[in-house]
Amino acid sequence: MKSIILAFNDLKLFFRDRWSFLYVAVLPIAIFTVLALTFGGQGKSKISEQPIPVVDLDHSPESAKLISALDKAKEIEVERFPEVEKGLAKVRKGRRVLALVIEPGFGKALKEGRVKGKLRVYYDPAKEMERSLLIGVLFRAVWGAFPEEFVSPFAASAMKEMGVPEEERKRALSSIEEYFKKKGGGKTSSLAANEMFTTEPVVKKQKMGKKPGIAQAAAGTAVMMLLFSVIYGGSSILRKKEAGILRRLLLSPISMGNIILGRYLSLFVIGCVQLFTLFLYANFAFGLPLRAHILPLIVLSVVTAAAATSFGIFLASLCRSYRQVEGLGTLLVLIMSALGGSWFPLFLMPRFMQKVGHFTFNAWAMDGYQEIFFRGGGISDILLEIAVLSAIALVTVGISVVVFSRRSFREFLAQ
């Protein structure tokens, strides 16, 4: 009985504590929602709708029919470009997985059964997994649009796999050819299904980063753990308040702005050390290549640490106690990490989730690290990410100084 009384008392205390409730109910629901939206796919496809640049250089009825078939595929969204370079630019920048170019003469070649080289896929080699999934989708669309042109080679391959004797296979294929001729179709393609597309990477091999998986893990962990560090570091301002140190500091010849800047600088240095330590470890233990990317890596890590530090201080400025910062901070860091691509690449998420993800600082930092590690990008390739992260750093720290200064006399001093 006494145990039950104690248990009820514990439960009462638990439900009075809003932060415990966040941990137990809200956080798991939020993380589950992100994971479900990412990996659930409602059981229909393994890939979320992806935009694909398509360049039609043929302008034939066949190419129009192909694009129309691609339009109907649920997994992709066709982006039409008149010129090859414009279509490839997005792939080159890592914004798209691949682009499809329909070469001149595709329609004629299709009728003659010589499609090889007429459908070119230019892809980002850093997105290997996504590329293979999307090529599967393209293949289905093309085959669906022109079944007669591709059915013979597919049937030949299937019968061979099933162990149908050669004589039987020839006879069956001949019947298929005869059927399509009677229907008025052209000659069926002699291409094997997996040779339908000519593929070519848009980034040269020597520029491309190695070990993208390790790079994703290192960058993702580094950014997430950095956020945890700055959250706890930022909360120390409120710890100082509760310990009375803030009051004594403010009674000395020092302003709130000085105090915030001091904390900012120390957290920023700690953040940089943390990021570089993790990348160095990834280099020594898992061979993550650093030397080739050192300058952009340093620049990006510095602005990432600056933005994360600002975020930590900003959060502290909005909270009343260090416990609140740590509770809310943990919640936000986990959600931001899931949404922002620290746990898994953003391209695995539905498009709207990718857009939402870019409201987090993680997504911009991860974009930058992926550009460096996956595509061997230099500083000029990550200017946008540097600009966004710098803006986040400046705006949030500016707001924090104003909020803290306004709060200081009202509550830190007059307590």
């Binding site: 009375g244 140190i245 004594r248 500091l249 009674l251 007059a414």
Partner: protein, 309 residues
Amino acid sequence: MLEIEGVKKRFQDTEALKGVGFVLYEGEVFGLLGPNGAGKTTLIKIITGLIPPDEGRVTVDGFDVRSHWEEVKRLLGIVPQELSLYPGLSAEENLSLFGKLYGVSGRELKDRISFLLSLVGLWERREELVRNYSGGMKRRLNLALALIHSPNLLLLDEPTVGLDPQTRALVYDFILEVKEKGVSVLLTTHYIEEAERLCDRVAIIDEGKIIALASPGELIQRFAPEELIEVETEEELVLLKEKLLDAFASFSPLVVEKKVILKVRDGRRRLPRIMADLLSFGVSPTSIHFKEPNLEAVFLSFTGKELRD
């Protein structure tokens, strides 16, 4: 050194200060004596610029606290009620940090740290982290921190609340030593002993007003020259209250629950007679306390209540 003129402060429905004013002269220890809630801490907050007064003016060495806060900060050393130390730093590091914030550096800072740590008896343990200190040691370091920049005026807000007798004695010695060095001190307290022992002058404050201001001896001589006789009884005295107040009217009686307090000149001689009278009313004393004239009696004479009420 410190001039306070007609300071008023209101918090919603409560009038915390009702026109407080006094002057603290250079080199003196000035006590602000009053019960909890009298307005002492509010006044300290106003002096240190933490909250503005609704009316009135506070100047330190001629600098208005509101318009010259930065100058005033450098003149003041403040010992807050609560500890405000970096527990992860040593005593030496805490002093060094705050010294640098006040612009003290080099040889001067080293000498200052060495002097202060010796003054508060922490020199031998100067390199130990503060988190490993006892409560008393932390209190001593808290005092030393307020003096790192050699302030002209030291403000101590209830510096001995919750201290053990040994540490309290150390704080008293510290204040007297600081006074020796020529530093002016404003001390808030509700301990009679503290005010009597340390202060050159005392302002008695109650319900936001200063009700008396003079040296402790002068206050006692003028307002409460009588001894205090406190008689505690077993029973509640509610039913006897009126009779007792009538019978002992010449001794300014105070009857509270199970206690009768009388102010009596030449009390030791008159005590047997008073006891006989009390017994005749059916009062059975369980203890009798005889107090020499002190500031508590002064407070009692002004307010009709005990200082610790």
